[in-house]
Symmetry: C2
Subunit: 190 residues, 2 copies
Amino acid sequence: MTQSAPRAMRCDAQLNRTRIIEFARETFAATPGATLKAIARGAGVGQGTMYRHFPTSDHLLLAVYWAEIDELVDAAPRLLERHEPVLALRLWLQRLAGYGGLGTAVSRAMAAATRADPDGPAYQQISAVLDELLTACRRAHRLRDGVTAHEVLLLMSYVWAAEGGADRPGGPGAGLLDVVMDGLCGRTSH
Amino acid sequence: MTQSAPRAMRCDAQLNRTRIIEFARETFAATPGATLKAIARGAGVGQGTMYRHFPTSDHLLLAVYWAEIDELVDAAPRLLERHEPVLALRLWLQRLAGYGGLGTAVSRAMAAATRADPDGPAYQQISAVLDELLTACRRAHRLRDGVTAHEVLLLMSYVWAAEGGADRPGGPGAGLLDVVMDGLCGRTSH
DNA sequence: ACCTGAACACCGTTCAAGT
DNA sequence: ACCTGAACACCGTTCAAGT
């Protein structure tokens, strides 16, 4: 513990924080575009408190969906153990896309992370994990050269671009993952 | 003229309209996130007038960048005449991406069109023209099956996803068009 | 038919006052 | 150290009143 452990919050602050997050989760599920003020009111805290804990709505979004992001991150090594690299990559991206569509957890947090805090922990973790998948593919000479994790995430932004969600089973964009995979695996150095 | 020709506007209305558009063009160039109220004030019209002509900021955006969209649309047939289909498609997408980056004309209008008015004339024209390019490629058996123009535009949304613009020459996303092209042309039915 | 501008209901943000 | 809630500067939207 040579470094500053984040200085435990006072217990009322901690309580308020969890209260906000919990109420925000329910609220976002019902009303995706809910306002910070409304959430503060509903959670029974002052607006100043809200603002202290979550300076912007993206911060709140990340806090609410943190668990889902963790799941996504944890899934990667498991996939790499059980499948060959390219399939693992495909399944992971599929899962990423599966979270997509506005209103579902990870896509909103991803959008928030890429938008507001590209250097924040959420984006860092996700791109680090994706980088492992890409490296595995590269080692197997199954990936084209010079593609970064950030670029792949950029390419996947079609998932959370459309309001309606581009990932619905039948909808437009359902087949786009095939296109992306072929693009990523074409022209290998093999 | 069996149909309702859009009923010529009164001359003061027409004047106000062009005044708004002109001032908005300058303003957007300087301050991308400019507000409708500020533009109304700067253009010397009442807020009600602003609202009558452009119910939402996306409508204004489309009006401002209409000329650029026309250029893009007109470029397609020329490209098809002078190059083979796949190269034509590539050059057109390159041009589309070249408009990219927030703050440049077409990308903002495209984002506006896909977001607010997916059935509006701008998006219709662009996707129709892209469909011609795709059809030409398909006829030459150089395009994978079952890809629609809408999907390709969805895939290109990486261009206007990032705030900084993903299309800068050296920046991330510069090589993504290659990935997209390989993805689109892989697995042909040829 | 069109324009004006005050008015309304909202938003995020701040900050003095409390505990 | 943290919370509260009034206050501030803004936004889009509406609408009675004018021409």
